[in-house]
């Protein structure tokens, strides 16, 4: 009779996690190595459009509602300490330093990581990646590098847009519902922000862009088992990208404060 051994189960889980982390780190190092050598500019430009431009509506809408909800919540909290006037300041800081990059990255993890994993996974299942190799093209250079580079380049731009729209969301609620004077709201938002607040958010964005595209590529590249495998790869890509984004966010925030 098999007896459940919790220590063994825990050990297996830890080993499996370490194996996955090791494989992801190796994949990341192969990606960085593939940066040197032939560059497929057409693929890169195509990915800029797919990852960046096509993500604008979802990132913009999410930022707008997040900024609006944040303003309401801060107002409720601030009211308890007679600190309602800090709504514009805290919304601006919260969006630029934290919520803009994280929310945009999570939305892209859902939209982009899963899409990349499904696309590359389907190419794996239909031998298209093997075909690239036989046509003497390095799949890492042709498929992975353009996507990851596009992610790193485009994420800060998307976050910049998310920051502006998020602050505007707070402004809309502040002016229409919370009876803030528009001029005062804008001035308070602008006064609180320092250059480093914006730059640190953009650095986070670039790191998140790297992680979420890398996870899409990694899980797609290693997809196994036909349609089911492609579906699994897409799910794993989103989950691992989201987890890495949260972990990286904590590490980067600790470094930046």
């Amino acid at each position: 009779m098999m007896v459940f051994n919790p220590v063994r189960a825990l050990g297996r889980g830890v080993l499996s996690l370490l194996r996955s982390l090791g494989a992801m780190t190796l994949f990341a190092s192969f990606t960085l190595r593939a940066l040197i050598g032939p560059f497929f500019a057409g693929q890169f430009v195509q990915q800029l459009g797919r990852i960046g431009f096509l993500s604008l509506p979802v990132v913009g809408l999410t930022a707008l509602f997040t900024g609006a909800a944040l303003a309401l919540n801060i107002y409720v909290g601030g009211e308890r300490f007679n600190a309602e006037s800090f709504v514009p300041n805290i919304v601006a800081l919260g969006i630029v330093r934290e919520l803009g990059p994280v929310i945009a990255a999570l939305m892209l993890a859902g939209r982009v990581s899963s899409g990349i994993a499904a696309e590359i996974g389907a190419m794996r299942a239909t031998e298209q990646i093997d075909a690239l190799h036989t046509l003497t093209i390095d799949p890492m250079r042709y498929l992975v590098v353009p996507r990851v580079l596009a992610g790193v380049v485009v994420m800060p731009l998307l976050v910049l847009v998310a920051d502006v729209i998020g602050i505007f969301g707070g402004f809309l609620v502040g002016v229409t519902t919370l009876e803030f004077d528009p001029t005062v709201y804008v001035r308070n938002s602008a006064d609180i922000l320092e250059r480093w607040d914006v730059v640190s958010g953009l650095i986070k964005a670039a790191v998140f862009g790297f992680l979420l595209t890398l996870m899409g590529c990694y899980h797609g590249y290693h997809a196994q088992g036909g349609a089911q495998g492609v579906g699994r790869a897409a799910t794993h890509a989103v989950v691992s990208a989201a987890m890495l984004i949260f972990a990286a966010n904590f590490i980067l925030t600790s470094m930046f404060v």
């Binding site: 298209q128 093997d130 075909a131 690239l132 036989t134 046509l135 003497t136 093209i137 042709y142």
Partner: protein
Amino acid sequence: MTTPVKIAWKSVTKRFGSRTVLDGLSLDAHEGRSLVVIGGSGTGKSVMLKTALGLIAPDSGHVEIDGERVRPGDPSDPGLGQIGMLFQSGALFDSLTVWENVAFKLLKAHKMKRAEARQKAVEALAQVDLEPDVASRAPRELSGGMLKRASLARAIVTRPAILFFDEPTTGLDPVTADVINRLIVRQVRSLGATAVTITHDMASMRMIADEVAMIENGTILWRGPLEGVESCDNPAVCRFVRGESGNS
């Protein structure tokens, strides 16, 4: 007359977990000859081909092309540059048109101008009896037979010295399979290429092969001329070709 050895598998062993797929397999393919490898499903035929393409690294042993070791995982391997490959599924890129697929290597590896590459692609498509209007279509718009022909055009467009065919007639009706077999014979002869074909289609084998090798349990069970298969030189090969299970 025996021609020089073009491709040689030398004591190649490959395991996946506890399963040994290739077990010290040794085989060679001679220049300008057409070798057909037959064997049941899961006997290691495709893995064998993938070791020569550098897609799978052997655990021990190695593969040589023109006496040079194949470097697994290296798309810049000079041996790989000589190979044209027809995949079982066709493996055309969904995101590209047919002509862009056919001219892919010319465009991306040889950096040929688009107009010139398109011209070469249309010529290659004509060689496999596909009309020029197919060139601008997407792969999803093609039938199974047309897909295989377009994939064959991609394999021959650079006039390679070696052609690999992985189950070229799988999933095709007998008439279309016959068309593909004839095209393969025609192209291999016109290029004077060394061909290695993996198949369990006996009609395909009879039409394409100069020589036949049968693989079983990861090793070469028998190898000989096509006539040897027909005259039943080896009982196991004979049973396989006749489609007999061997059980009474």
